[in-house]
């Protein structure tokens, strides 16, 4: 069972992702509400996968991705963000994200993406 860290500043979106993932055999080992918590919890739990929001207080998702990748070059991070502008997608992928899912998403889109990185 792959472990996963959910990062999103909105409780509703964390709940939605958690439901999708747990129903499909993932173990959600942690949830983070901003980029700072995301880095702390990544170091604490070393999850196999991360879902990462971009627009968040304190530290945004792109900065958090850079920090996490610095700590673990093999980190597997999939962005889930409403900000689907092309330049931001490229920025996230350049920072080290493996995929970019634009919110709102269909559950299958998330599951298909995560499957590729297990």
């Amino acid at each position: 069972m792959a472990t996963i860290l959910i990062v999103d500043d909105t409780a509703f979106m964390r709940m939605t992702l958690k439901n999708i993932l747990e129903k499909n055999g993932y173990e959600v080992v942690g949830e983070a509400e901003d980029g700072v918590q995301a880095i702390e919890k990544y170091k604490e739990f070393s999850p196999a996968l991360v879902t990462m929001d971009i627009t968040m207080p304190n530290l945004d998702g792109i900065s958090a991705i850079k920090e996490i990748v610095k700590h673990d070059a093999d980190a597997k991070i999939v962005v889930c963000s409403a900000m689907g502008q092309k330049s931001l997608v490229i920025e996230a992928l350049n920072a080290g994200a493996k995929d970019f899912i634009v919110k709102p998403f269909q559950p299958d889109r998330v599951l298909d993406s995560l499957k590729k990185f297990q």
Binding site: M13, T55, M83, P104
Partner: protein
């Protein structure tokens, strides 16, 4: 600057961005609700600050408002306003009927809906201008329309009196929903967007 100093073709461009942005937002909402949503053609207009409370049903009308600042080559405020009953309907729809009040989870639903609608508008604007916009984390307020809008407009430190309003009414079989999207630009700077698009249109 006020709305009278914009040329008709510039107003048309702003309306077109509004249409595309709201089209994106509707697609997004429809996906969230897993329902086909019928969208009335959005009414895009330029209005004065003082007209806003009346437009949404009076200053004492209870509303939920999600607002954030778009940051980029041009910065502006994005405000998404829903009448209270619309907000409650969408909370109910998105939590499969488990929540129909402004509790912690209900507020979180509304914040995410506002976030997605605002981001959809920014995607349209980015696509048309090649500018990139980031967004501050959205803030949610639930109160009377007059109180919330007064606070936001004071915060926005507006030099001008004109807002871009995109009003749309969305209907689904199960969810009645009405939302108003306001763009509050600093017109001196926002003009550069209009100019860019104007030049592109002439090509």
């Amino acid at each position: 600057m006020d709305k009278n100093s914009l040329k008709p073709e510039q107003i048309d461009i702003l309306k077109e961005i509004g249409n595309i942005g709201m089209g994106n937002a509707t697609t997004s909402l429809s996906k969230m609700l897993e329902e086909k949503i019928k969208m009335d053609v959005p009414e895009v207009s330029l209005i004065s600050l003082s007209e806003v409370p009346e437009l949404v049903g009076g200053p004492e009308k209870p509303v939920a408002v999600v607002f954030s600042k778009a940051l980029g080559e041009v910065s502006f405020f994005i405000i998404f306003l829903m009448p209270e009953h619309s907000a409650l309907n969408i909370i109910k729809a998105l939590t499969d009927g488990e929540t129909n009040e402004f509790c912690y989870m209900g507020r979180s639903v509304i914040r995410e809906v506002g976030n997605i609608v605002g981001a959809a508008y920014l995607s349209a604007l980015s696509f048309l201008t090649n500018y990139t916009f980031k967004q501050t984390p959205p803030i949610l307020a639930i109160d009377m329309a007059g109180a919330i809008l007064g606070t936001i407009f004071a915060e926005a430190d507006l030099a001008d009196d004109t807002l871009l309003l995109i009003k749309t009414i969305l209907n689904t079989e199960l969810t009645d929903f009405e939302g108003y999207l306001f763009i509050v630009p600093n017109w001196e700077k926002f003009k550069s967007i209009v100019e860019i698009l104007g030049l592109e249109l002439e090509e």
